[in-house]
């Protein structure tokens, strides 16, 4: 960690997409021989910053300097040839090829008769040895080694081209503790050789274990850069999620309402889980109750919501609804049992872009009735009138194609779709994401009102204040496990949850 010149210097980077300020005046420095972690919540801009560096996104303003000189790259390949390699979360290798082929793809050793495979595999072996992977057989198919090892192979590939900068984007999301240690050993090795490592992760413990320096982004803005040893966990989390000083606070702190967690729950699941998605969880929701799922990115909140709805098929779980033991394995089954789920991924799984607002609004109700019993025009108009007004969708034009609405209004229409089915249990996954503050408040009020009327609500959000404000009970998730469950009360704040997450698992 010598104090030298930064090898990458990004200053005042701004990038704007239609309707979204992805990055605003962000600064970032990368020093050789250092592990520098980029931190921030979902939507903070981490991925955007990396893509700005490698040239995948064009920057609207700001400057990038590499090794002292100004540089603008045109894409990953261009950046790679300048010594900046990126290894993504999904391990962008070709699993139909061998280990050696993946390492050397594009840089194979040629002889007189085309590629000399013996020499190429030797070169691959050398690259692997450099990372301490000498035991891997270059001729083995990539698919035969674990994901953790594949990740290391991806890093070897980056080193074949003698990269000076290695960007690791969420490399540990699918690794277990041992494999993470293996990865960190490799990272430390490279760092000691002078490589500059940009590490992106949201797993706090790992960040503290491996990083020398931290930069925090929030909502596309630069919050601060610190040496890891100078920042406590609590301080870091506060920097990441920030304090919303706006009208949300004016809604009043905790609700003084009746407690609903008495008697038999409306929905009860024991050991609900799915391999590779979330470890078995118990969850109860009472009528009129709002249960919040809190946790950082990747903790498994969405996965749990999807399992309840049957969007993903559970491997295990005993589910009781209104006293009746039942199975919910598909969305069709869920809707039949009056469960509805509002996805966080509205573009891929929510809106049907070319259809009108009206058609999107009535879709779930219509699906429930089946194809042979279409909703009459009058019924459709009633639904449109009710929800477009209630949710304040703008413009309130049922015949507009939904893809022409802003993200926030699309979200409202989707919410309307589910509300129209009159669910008893409503799961909301990030319903206020990407919505302006005024609309946020509206939606939160709607959710509170629904619960008042007796609906059971599971509320998933990465904004802890929101979860605390609305929930009666809060289930805390971390690393695809349930780590705690608390009842909301006057002493519970976002800090409480932060502490739960921070203290869990740090046994070192």
């Amino acid at each position: 960690m010598a104090a030298t010149e930064p090898i990458v210097e990004m200053e005042n980077i701004s990038i704007e997409f239609p309707g979204v300020k992805a990055l605003q005046d962000v600064n970032f420095r990368l020093f050789p021989g250092e592990v520098h972690t980029l931190m921030g919540e979902n939507g903070a801009g981490k991925s955007t910053l990396i893509k700005a560096l490698t040239g995948v996104y064009k920057i609207d303003s700001g400057s990038i300097k590499v090794a002292g000189g100004p540089r603008r790259f045109t894409g990953t390949a261009d950046a790679q040839s300048a010594g900046i390699s990126t290894v993504y979360q999904e391990v962008n290798l070709c699993d139909n090829l061998t280990v050696g082929e993946n390492v050397m793809l594009g840089h194979e050793v040629h002889g007189r008769m085309g590629i000399n495979w013996r020499k190429t595999n030797l070169a691959a072996h050398d690259a692997l040895v450099r990372l301490g992977l000498g035991g891997l057989d270059p001729k083995a198919p990539l698919s035969s080694i674990s994901l953790a090892l594949q990740q290391l192979v991806a890093i070897s590939r980056a080193m074949v081209t003698n990269s000076k900068v290695l960007i690791l984007d969420e490399p540990t999301s699918s690794l277990d503790a041992n494999e993470v240690e293996g990865l960190f050993a490799v990272i430390r090795r490279l760092r000691d050789e002078g490589v500059a490592i940009l590490f992106v992760s949201h797993f706090l413990d790992q960040v503290y274990a491996i990083s020398d320096r931290l930069t925090v982004l929030r909502n596309g803005e630069f919050v601060g850069e610190h040496m890891t040893q100078d920042l406590s966990r609590g301080q870091l989390i506060s920097m990441m999620i920030g304090k919303d000083v706006d009208t949300l606070n004016s809604l009043g702190s905790n609700r003084g309402r009746a407690v609903h967690a008495v008697g038999a729950p409306y929905y009860s699941a024991k050991n609900l889980g799915r391999q590779g998605s979330i470890e078995p969880v118990d969850i109860d929701v009472h009528a009129g109750e709002v249960v919040g799922l809190a946790g950082l990115l990747g903790s498994g909140r969405t996965e749990l919501g999807r399992l309840i709805y049957g969007a993903d098929r559970p491997d295990s779980g005993d589910v009781t609804i209104d006293g009746v033991t039942t199975e919910v394995h598909t969305p069709v089954a869920a809707l039949a049992r009056k469960i509805a789920f509002s996805t966080e991924n509205r573009r891929d799984e929510g809106i049907i872009g070319d259809l009108t607002v009206r058609e999107n609004l009535i879709l779930a109700v219509q699906a429930r009735r089946g194809w042979a019993r279409p909703l009459s025009r009058r019924e459709q108009n009633e639904i449109c009138a009710k929800y477009l007004v209630e949710l304040n969708v703008r413009p309130a034009d049922p015949e507009r194609a939904i893809r022409n609405l802003s993200g926030g209004n699309q979200q409202k229409v989707l919410l309307g779709r589910w509300l129209a089915t009159n669910p008893e249990l409503l799961i909301l996954d990030e319903p206020t994401r990407g919505i302006d503050v005024g609309a946020k408040a509206e939606i939160q009020e709607t959710i509170a009102a629904l619960a008042e009327d007796g609906m059971s609500v599971v509320f998933i959000s990465s904004e802890l204040e929101e979860v605390v404000r609305l929930s009666e009970r809060i289930i805390v998730l971390k690393d695809h496990r349930k780590i705690g469950e608390i009842t909301n009360g006057p002493l519970v704040t976002a800090e409480t949850i932060v502490d739960i997450i921070a203290s869990e698992g740090s046994s070192e």
Partner: protein
Amino acid sequence: MSAPVSRQPSTVQFVTRLFHQPYVWAIVALLLLLVINLTKNPGYLGVSVNPATGNLSGNVIDILRASAPIMMIAVGMTLVIATRGIDLSVGSVMAVAGAVSMEFMQNAGTGSFGTAAIAVILALGISAVLGTLNGILVSIVGLQPFITTLVMMLAGRGLAKVITSGQNTSATNEPFRWLANGTVLGFPVVFVIAVVIVAVLAALVRRTALGLMIESIGINPKAARMAGIRPVGILISVYIVSAVLAGVAGIFSTASVMTVEVAKTGMTAEMDAILAVVIGGTSLAGGKFSLTGSIIGALLIATLDKTIVYMSIPSSATPAFKAIVIVVICLLQSPRVRALFNQRKATTTSTRKEAVSA
């Protein structure tokens, strides 16, 4: 964005709305072709009524008669394409339907109505079986539609040849022949039947929620599933419909000559069907579809075929011309070209990739 139209007279409203339809250019082309015919013969559009039988005859009537089989396969293809699929086997299913009916009637001996009826039922039944096979392979087994229907296209023609032992089987059966050559209320029977079938399908698709579900599956299959739509039943149904309609088209085309030409019947049918669909404005990528557009496309193709013959242009050039039109429309429907057009319009659409994904 929508201008207040309530104050304009209704005809202006109608024309304005017409011009926004994707198939408006097809209508223009259709009228253009008729005009070309009129230049050669000002009496081209004349329709005469036979006083004895009440039958209508004339060039326009011939066009309607020729458009019937094309309408059938175009409508079927529209529904399949709307679900993001394709049915390359329609031509072969036509041949199979023709083969089955001709073989049966030839072997049955009697030229009775009963024989004809059974022949029709057999032909449509086998078509339905082939369609079911396609549907199951695509929706349950999960094979790609193009490979499934490509195999069916070639195997189907083989099947037709096996049924007739390689011969071009003919048969005599007046009631069957009446289908192609007869008239109802003066109009050709084929056309009337085609119109009725299309009307029934249109009602089925637009008056029930079926059309909405088909479009949802085609536009965003994941979202459709999350909303509680069951894709399997709908997918199998559209492939069955496509095959049965192809069977009807096969009956129409073999009935006119009372012979099935196993190598030739339905030979370029899939191209005509796809052309009709894209002219009509339905995108090959699936999603929103227009039966009206496909019907206009079918009429256009029939008119084109007749015009080429009428103007004494060698008809061997027609397939190439149709292929070029398909390529051009493919280009026009492609995202790159669409983006070019959309740049002119105000962009409130989220066409750029979402930046905020962690």
